[in-house]
């Protein structure tokens, strides 16, 4: 009897996590409509153009999420290697005629009439693969330098092709960042990470220093210019710094409580396609500091729930959750960092809120995995414990 009750308890659905995700999704849809209606009606004669297409992707994602949440996650471990391979293949397919070019970047695939961003698939693929890979190596081996390096080398080819083929450095960094966070949690050591962190910071500082000093000589490429625009956006107000500066204007002009929902002026042509990367600045403008910090709190709450889910599960489940958490957290930090000019401008969407079909669908698939871990993690951990015994 007591065993049965326990079983039921274990298989509870994590509704608080689900609620947070649904809240962010709904909030995102409202904001997409608010931000994009002007541009959509100007360009397509339909104010809800972006909203409709986002609703479709969200609906598809929610269905997939529910399905995956009810499948025991160890089921996916078999497909880890396959997912890893598919991720590479999809990125390479961008070079084929299936690839679509938009805004001068070839980042999309045309699959049965819908466009798909392979980088989003790659993020899911790498989470699944690395979780399985780390489990195979075992926590003990990971602690060694060899294990540490092996794990870090695994995602590099994927990062490289994402960077080079889809010219999407930010996605490459995110993929690598996800692996690094998973490795950090899995490894019993600290030393490697402290060393790696110090080395990384020094390298970044040197790069920035070099760019500043050779700024006089031209032909630096657009990434270097972005760094310069980041350091002094006003000096590049009409060029690289334009978007950042307009985002700052939006945030600054919002004040504490904002101009009110739908009242943004910056979305009227000054922040082009603000529904994508710059949506957070419009949220700040319309809902003020209050609304912006409320969103950050929602993400904190989400991370907090992730931590709880991760704690209860076995190693594979934990790593899955950490991977998904890493994915979301890195994107949130980079996105808000960009609009507040804490880091150089790069195109990263705000999870659940920004416009982008592939992004929201695959994020919801990842949330489905986390919900599955929440539901079955404890049970599976106990079973493994018992088996081990």
């Amino acid at each position: 009897m007591s065993n049965q009750t326990k079983r039921k308890e274990v298989n509870m659905f994590d509704f608080s996590l689900l609620f947070i995700v649904l809240f962010l999704l709904c909030f995102g849809l409202v904001m997409i409509y608010s931000v994009s209606s002007y541009e959509a009606s100007m360009r397509f004669g339909d104010a809800a153009y972006f909203l409709k297409s986002q609703l479709l992707a969200t609906g598809l994602g929610l269905v997939l999420m529910i399905v995956i949440a009810n499948i025991k996650y160890p089921f996916w471990e078999k497909f880890a290697t396959l997912a890893f391979v598919i991720s590479h293949v999809l990125v390479l397919l961008v070079l084929s005629p299936l690839g679509i070019e938009r805004n001068n970047a070839r980042r999309w695939l045309d699959i049965f009439g819908t466009s798909l961003q392979p980088a989003e698939v790659a993020k899911l693929g790498i989470i699944l693969f690395m979780a399985s890979f780390i489990c195979k190596i075992g926590t003990k081996n990971i602690g060694t330098l060899k294990g540490f390096l092996t794990v870090l080398i695994m995602p590099l080819p994927l990062c490289f092709i994402v960077w080079q083929i889809t010219t999407n450095l930010s996605s490459a960094i995110i993929i690598f960042g996800i692996v690094l966070l998973m490795l950090f949690v899995a490894s019993p050591k600290y030393k490697h990470f402290i060393v790696a962190g110090v080395v990384g910071m020094v390298v970044v500082m040197i790069i920035v220093f070099v760019i500043i000093n050779v700024a006089a000589s031209d032909n630096l490429g657009f990434r270097s210019e972005r760094v310069l625009a980041w350091l002094d956006p006003e000096a590049y107000a009409q060029g690289r710094g334009f978007q950042t500066l307009q985002a700052l204007y939006a945030i600054g002009s919002g004040g504490f409580f904002g101009k009110g929902l739908g009242q943004s002026m910056q979305k009227l042509g000054f922040l082009p396609e603000a529904q994508n990367d710059m949506i957070f600045s419009i949220i700040s403008e319309e809902l003020g500091l209050f609304g912006a910090i409320a969103i950050i709190l929602m993400f904190m709450l989400l991370v907090w729930r992730f931590m709880y889910v991760a704690r209860e599960a076995d190693l594979f489940g934990t790593l899955l959750v950490v991977g998904v958490m890493g994915h979301i957290v890195i994107q949130v930090i980079i996105n808000i960092g960009v609009v507040t000019n804490l880091i150089p401008n790069t195109g990263i969407t705000l999870p659940f809120i920004s416009y982008g079909g592939s992004s929201v669908t695959f994020l919801l698939i990842e949330i489905g995995l986390v919900l599955s871990v929440a539901k079955f993690g404890k049970q599976i951990a106990v079973e493994k414990e018992q088996n081990a015994v």
Binding site: S187, Y249, F256, M307, A310, I336, L342
Partner: protein, 731 residues
């Protein structure tokens, strides 16, 4: 072992959770940093950024075009109208938003418009972010209707994107060249340049509307639309049927005499004005050559005109413009010649009016009391005036000439004698009374100033007085002569000539009625009656010079004019006829001027009277003016033939006017008094058909005795140079 294992696992789990907590902690710190940064931006730069956002708002506004008012004729026929037209605009950004849009959109464009699709493809790939590119200009609604239907059918064609239509108005003249000089035209942005389009530009123009955004008190962006106010329409006094009849006979004349004597058009200029005698309403005003208002820069219309040099002058002997030398002309020269083409001869060009002035001279004499009308003069064929001898048109003398007969046979000597009786000062005063030297203020742009082209009290001498009496030595415009002539025959009422009688709002309501404007009384009704009778005798009298102007079945009055141009070398003439109809109750006046017809011997008013006759033959019945005279069978046959031609334009009969010559019509030779018929015995020159004066060797008209080639070859008096005249440069 098992215990150690379990412990190890527990330790692992603890470590894992520890790391997880550390990670979450780091993440929370990062979020905190972001929140602090947000706060700092708001605190430190909030005010500055708020101002910046307001400052960079572009209150983007779009102009809504107004519709320019129409120009209607007196019966409501549209002469000029503004049509809504559509520019096809390509918005590449919207088109490329979805990959599937490109091909269906291009296919639809290809199917409905005459476009180079490959060029567009290249443009799109080169300018992926372009939002405004004009593909086609000024298409009519019908031309875009097909594409629009496809585009709006979103169900079946969801992928036709990035094409929109910008609205605009285009000025369109449904009748092409009809009344081209009166109507004038506009610039492409609807500003009137010539003719009524210019003189009524402010009435026709509306006010553009505007759609714009602004910031209200709460700093919210609001959008407002101010609708465009369309321009008012004008109803002209022109009757397009009469205008078309007049233009038809000008064209016929041109066709008949084109390349006749020398290369070029039938005459250098031909002008017709038909005016209502009792209102000053202009019913028709036509010039030849004319031009197509919908294609004003078409150089084909220039062919036949006397060419202007690049500096705007005409070197004599001038050459006619033809297809070959048109190709060698520079843009400036072409523009110069186009300006000459667009010039309204009837109001802008001045010339010596010639004998049509004789009724004015007589009227001035009677009105001033200088003559009674019962005087008789002896015409010896010449008169010695001052240091000069001035000849009559019949150098052998008309014999005894009464005042009335002086008008009838156009005797220069009689007129000079009348003018002598009037005296210089009174004659100058009467020229002013008849408005010569002053503008008529007709409501058209470009009326010539003639103040310097008439004599005043201080510079008119006896010889000038003498020549002025028969219309040489001073210059007038056509509109001046006919306006004054109307007052001469309507009882002395001088009406301001006008072309517009009503202003109508876009909804059809009358904004203003423009009433006829009586300016002054030139002569008394009594004098008017006498002069009118003289003019009738000039057409129907036995010796009248204007027989050939008379349409079958009607009695009209009028006066011919044959003015020799400077230099007085008996080669270049301005031929004219001014008349009114019907004779007993004048309704309309008509004035036809043929400037240098393209014939070897220009000296015959017949070139003008023929046109008058043809026009009146059609216009008088059209105006419901009934015939008063019986027709001969030949005349009825001729009219029936004309009717057939009018009713069936396909059956074009070129010789419709021939029969009347052969059948000896009313315009036939009058018998002249025998005692002065010396020229009757002159030998006839076989080549020309004229008689030759054995004493002088000059050609003489075997019927009238008039010397071919002018009436005062020995006169060497000063003549004021014509300004804006026939040989003058364009504006």
């Amino acid at each position: 072992m098992k215990k150690a294992n379990r412990q190890k696992r527990r330790k692992d789990k603890y470590q894992l959770n520890m790391k997880l907590s550390i990670l979450v902690g780091v993440v929370f710190v990062a979020f905190l940093v972001l929140a602090i940064q947000l706060y700092l931006i708001t605190r430190d730069s909030g005010d500055q950024y708020r101002r910046q956002v307001l400052a960079q708002q572009r209150y983007d506004s779009t102009i809504i075009p107004y519709r320019r008012g129409a120009i209607l004729d007196s019966r409501g026929t549209t002469l000029a109208v503004s049509e809504k037209v559509y520019n096809v605009i390509l918005d590449t950004r919207a088109l490329l938003d979805r990959r599937d849009n490109l091909e269906p959109t291009l296919a639809a464009l290809d199917a409905h418009f005459n476009l180079d699709i490959e060029m567009i493809r290249t443009f799109i790939s080169n300018n992926p972010s372009s939002q405004y590119h004009v593909l086609l200009r000024r298409l009519t609604y019908d031309e875009i209707a097909g594409f629009r239907a496809l585009q709006t059918d979103r169900e079946n064609n969801p992928n036709i994107r990035g094409i929109w239509f910008e609205e605009e108005y285009r000025r369109y003249y449904p009748n092409g060249s009809l009344a081209s000089h009166i109507i004038g035209f506009t610039t492409s942005d609807n500003q009137g340049l010539y003719g009524l389009e210019r003189s009524y530009n402010e009435v026709l123009s509306g006010t553009s509307g505007r759609e714009y955004g602004f910031l209200n008190n709460e700093s919210e962006l609001e959008r407002t639309t101010i609708a465009a106010i369309d321009g008012n329409s004008i109803v002209t006094t022109i009757d397009s049927n009469i205008q078309a009849i007049a233009e038809k006979y000008l064209r016929n004349f041109d066709e008949e005499y084109r390349d006749n004597h020398r290369e070029g058009s039938g005459a250098q200029n031909i002008g017709v004005i038909i005016m209502e005698v009792n209102t000053g309403n202009v019913l028709a005003m036509a010039n030849y050559p004319h031009f197509d208002l919908n294609d004003i820069r078409n150089t084909d219309a220039l062919i036949g005109m006397q060419m202007l040099d690049a500096d705007g002058t005409r070197t004599l002997p001038s050459t006619a413009i033809n297809a070959e030398n048109l190709l060698t002309m520079q843009t400036d020269q072409i523009n110069m010649n186009l300006n000459a083409l667009w010039r309204n001869f009837a109001i802008s060009d001045t010339f010596e009016p010639g004998s049509v002035i004789k009724p004015f001279t007589v009227a001035a004499g009677i009105e001033s009391g200088s003559i009674t009308g019962n005087e008789h003069y002896r015409c010896e064929g010449k008169l010695d005036v001052g240091d000069f001898t001035i000849h009559c048109n019949n150098i052998y003398g008309h014999g005894d000439v009464s005042v009335g007969r002086g008008v009838e046979i156009s005797c220069n000597v009689a007129m000079m004698r009348v003018a002598m009786n009037i005296g210089r000062n009174t004659y100058v005063d009467f020229q002013h009374i008849f408005n010569f030297g002053l503008r008529t203020n007709i409501d058209l742009e470009g009326e010539a100033r003639t103040a310097a082209l008439v004599y005043n009290r201080s510079n008119m001498r006896i010889t000038e007085l003498a020549t002025c009496s028969f219309g040489q030595g001073f210059n007038t415009t056509m509109i001046q002569v006919i306006t004054a002539f109307c007052s001469l025959i309507n009882g002395g009422n001088y009406y301001e000539p006008r072309l517009v009688r009503q202003i109508v709002s876009p909804t059809g309501a009358t904004v203003a009625n423009i009433e006829p404007r009586l300016l002054k009384q030139t002569i008394s009704p009594l004098t008017s009656d006498i002069v009118r009778a003289y003019c009738v005798s000039a057409v129907v009298g036995e010796e009248g010079t204007g027989h050939s102007a008379r349409p079958y079945g009607y009695i009209i009055g009028g006066k011919t004019g044959t003015a020799e141009m400077i230099p007085r070398d008996k080669t270049n003439y301005v031929l004219s006829f001014i008349g009114f109809a019907p004779a007993d109750d004048p309704q309309i006046a008509i004035y036809v001027v043929v400037d240098r017809p393209n014939v070897r011997q220009q000296h015959s008013a017949r070139y003008a009277t023929q046109i008058v006759k043809n026009i009146l033959t059609e216009v008088l019945p059209y105006l419901n003016i009934y015939m008063t005279e019986e027709l001969t069978e030949a005349q009825m046959a001729a009219l029936a033939e004309l009717q057939r031609e009018i009713l069936s334009p396909i059956l074009k009969l070129n010789d419709d006017e021939e029969p009347d010559d052969e059948n000896g019509d009313i315009d036939d030779t009058p018998a002249l008094p025998p005692h002065i018929e010396v020229w009757r015995d002159f030998p006839i020159d076989a080549a020309t058909g004229y008689a030759i004066d054995p004493n002088t060797g000059e050609y003489v008209d075997p019927v009238t005795g008039a010397t071919i080639g002018g009436s005062f070859q020995s006169v060497g008096f000063d003549v004021l140079p014509p300004v804006g005249g026939i040989d003058d440069e364009p504006p």
